[in-house]
Symmetry: C2
Subunit: 479 residues, 2 copies
């Protein structure tokens, strides 16, 4: 880590992001093009994301399993749209054990095909349904332009794959898991998201309907942060997932898939971070509280360290994730900067004066300088810190929501739309034709992000062609 300041967001947002990921030791570049190493601090954040999601998956009746990394090439070819979508991005194993393989194996870019094959073996009767399985793992997509967390050749994610007896049940599942993602994003990551439908152009290759949660980053670009797909009977037909229903009729199952990846770490960084570094949402932060003893070389460290350790023990006993920075080779000021860079939500400083007065200095990461500092009694500190963490969560969420809402525009005409998407999102009526979507992309680089669910059906004119339109869509430049 370096003492140099980060490039400010206003100067070069992209450079700020790259520097921050490296300096906060979230991830590093691997010696394989486009791949990343997720370093311990980044992985601890991912583990907390995993736990927050896994708990929700289990509460909604899902179980975890593991399917193979390798998929026979012929499997991908069984679903036409799927293979068209993924074939440009495949990593292919052609040799194993020193011999050329008869059939090349694809390193999974996603697992609908191989899981579909297994479900066809496991499902015979309606009693075998629903199957509600999730998998935590790695996948590979051969991307040309890569960014740490946002787009890497290998990434880490969960992919849920479910099979149902009826269309309605599968659609309900698709929307239920989108709700789970929204709940996680808002209540654990303090990342406000908009739920909606993907356009036909933007949907998952092989899906009937794709849904998404979309978040706005501080440069106003959209980040697709999680997706949930209703696959209809497409994969059931490709892989022969059939069951006898209660009337003894053979039916194809209805399937869904849904995924959220390490990309979400990018969403957290770019939603909350500032020019000093990360600001991690308290519920997911690997370290929620850092305690820094304020020591001087001419005084005995023992009494301060005793108090620091007692406070540490009290906070840990309350279930908080706490670290004491007891390094002696660096100054407290260096430590302040270091933990600010790493986005620890709360800092506690304890020095000799605090021992006399029974106090501790509290600094909240989300409010820099004096505004975020307070002197509080050591007695009752645990409750104060817990409340502060809750307040930081609420404050991060409110700030990000306000930022987003102030950057969503309602352009009057196409000219205004092309302006709007340079500094925010445009929320406009759209006729849902691929032509109009393509024109916007061509003219502005903005794509349709989502058609919000549950919007009242209205009557308007397509912002592009002026034809009649029923629903509004978000247009935005996106990651």
């Amino acid at each position: 880590m370096s003492d140099d300041k980060l490039t400010p967001r206003s100067v070069d947002f992209s450079e700020w992001y790259n520097q921050l990921v490296l300096r906060a030791e979230l991830a590093d570049y691997a010696p394989v093009r486009g791949c990343m190493v997720v370093r311990p601090y980044g992985w601890a954040l991912w583990e907390n994301i995993q736990q927050a999601l896994d708990r929700r998956f289990k509460e909604t009746g899902h179980v975890n399993a593991a399917f193979p990394l390798f998929i026979p090439m012929s499997f991908l070819e069984k679903e036409k749209e799927h293979v068209e979508g993924f074939s440009p991005e495949l990593a292919v194993v052609t040799h194993g054990g020193g011999e050329k393989l008869e059939e090349p194996l694809v390193v999974r870019p996603t697992s609908e095909t191989i899981i579909g094959y297994m479900y066809s073996k496991w499902v015979q009767s309606y009693r075998d349904l629903p199957i509600l399985i999730n998998q935590w793992g790695n996948v590979v997509r051969w991307e040309m332009r890569t960014r740490l967390f946002l787009r890497t050749l290998e990434f880490f994610w969960q992919e849920g794959h479910t099979a149902h007896a009826t269309e309605q049940e599968a659609i309900e599942e698709t929307l239920r898991m989108l709700d789970v993602y929204e709940d996680f994003a808002i209540n654990d990551a303090a990342v406000p998201v908009i739920k909606g439908l993907k356009s036909q152009t933007e949907k998952f290759a092989g899906a009937v309907m794709s849904t998404t949660i979309e978040a706005m980053m501080q440069d106003t670009r959209a980040l697709q942060s999680g997706t949930s797909h209703f696959l209809g009977q497409n994969f059931a037909k490709a892989f022969d997932i059939k069951f006898l229903d209660e009337k003894n009729t053979l039916q194809y199952a209805w399937t869904t898939s849904w995924g959220l990846s390490t990309r979400f770490i990018g969403a957290i960084i770019m939603t909350h971070g500032d020019d000093q570094g990360l600001i991690l949402p308290p519920k997911l932060a690997p370290i929620q509280v850092v305690i820094i003893p304020i020591l001087k070389s001419d005084i005995d460290a023992t009494p301060v360290m005793e108090t620091v350790r007692r406070v540490e023990a009290e906070l840990k006993a309350a279930g908080l994730r706490v670290k004491v920075d007891d390094r002696t080779e660096v100054t407290p000021g260096f430590k302040f900067n270091d933990w600010e860079l790493r986005g620890v939500p709360v800092r506690i400083e304890i020095g000799p004066k605090d021992l006399e007065k029974g106090t501790a200095a509290l600094a909240r990461r989300d409010k820099p300088g004096k505004e975020g500092k307070s002197l509080v009694p050591q007695a009752g500190l645990v409750e104060v810190v817990k409340a502060l963490l809750n307040d930081i969560h609420a404050s991060l969420l409110a700030r990000a929501t306000a930022f987003r809402d102030s950057h969503i525009f309602d352009p009057k005409d196409y000219a205004e739309l092309t302006e709007a998407v340079q500094n925010g999102w445009a929320y406009s009526y759209w006729c849902e034709s691929a032509e109009c979507e393509a024109k916007v992309k061509e003219d502005t680089k903005a794509t349709t992000r989502c058609i919000p669910l549950n919007q009242e059906e209205g009557k308007g004119k397509c912002i592009v062609c002026g034809k009649e339109a029923k629903r509004k869509v978000y247009f935005a430049r996106a990651y």
Copy 2:
């Protein structure tokens, strides 16, 4: 699942194992040669193994991270023994994104090389050491003969990789992690293991010293259940992991690696299972207690189900993993067999008579028939069940230890050794020459399993050549 009985262990142990893995729905064959699907019940067992180990890793100061799946072929070639050991087993990616790669990428068979490369970037000073990182993930070794869990092309594991400033620290780490594996095996899996050194022939490709925990299966074969390697400066030199020590001298680091895989599930199955199915150790069992309501079609189910749900709630509140089997389409007898097959440690039966008497019937999986059954009061059931689970753990461990110890022989001469390894292990003096080791393997298929640590140095004659020998070794046929 089928009503057919399993092939008994005495008839065909190998067939018993294969049937059991499939019927208990731990795993299934994947449509890719040699790969497996770990089904939800098997993955839940693995998740419990992961938690039991991960807790111990973190208690001993380790953190998790994630390194890339792909390794440039040239990396493997930097450590001579390492590439010789692994090159016959590699899966190779030659094409990505539709193009032939300039340098082929290997799907990691283990990660010493790429992690070594990253450590060389991260380590400059003695202050950067030790690095204590573990990774949970998948690896691929192109095996010819595969068995579910025991040997598959892709398997799941953890691999710890540490770097230290001194040789002694690295050796201590190697042995510390072996102790962690032993502690886990004995205290969580009820699998007794013998800790020891691997011979030079059997050691990890690239290690200076390999250590192992070895377990005896019920067919008396040995299963290597976890290994911890002292790598000396071999990988540090190959990847240039250097640091400035406190005297400002440039030194190579000392590294270790240690791993335990889904193979351990095979150890659990073959240590504890019986002809009725799995017997899962209580601390790792996905379901510790199954409750079966005893209902008849001519009586009202409500009062029984109310009691069942109350008991379920009480057990869950005590932190136990409980399932109520409320299926109505199968009989209680079918359910008994089903959960016995799946190895649930404790079964509770509650029927109308129990409601009158305030009782519940308890059956412990490790003792079949009447011996394992008791009628207990519903009041205080939680404590009784907890004690029973502890007792089952102790009883499984004692039984496996007694079995193992009664199958370890001390042959008087080479002829006796060749006999001994047909029905057990031979524990004999060995001169530590590769020739004698090879002769035993050639004659009996038995290999050296380990030279136990902490054995008193003795004086004996090599069981093979008769030359002087200082230490005893276990010879056994192995998985």
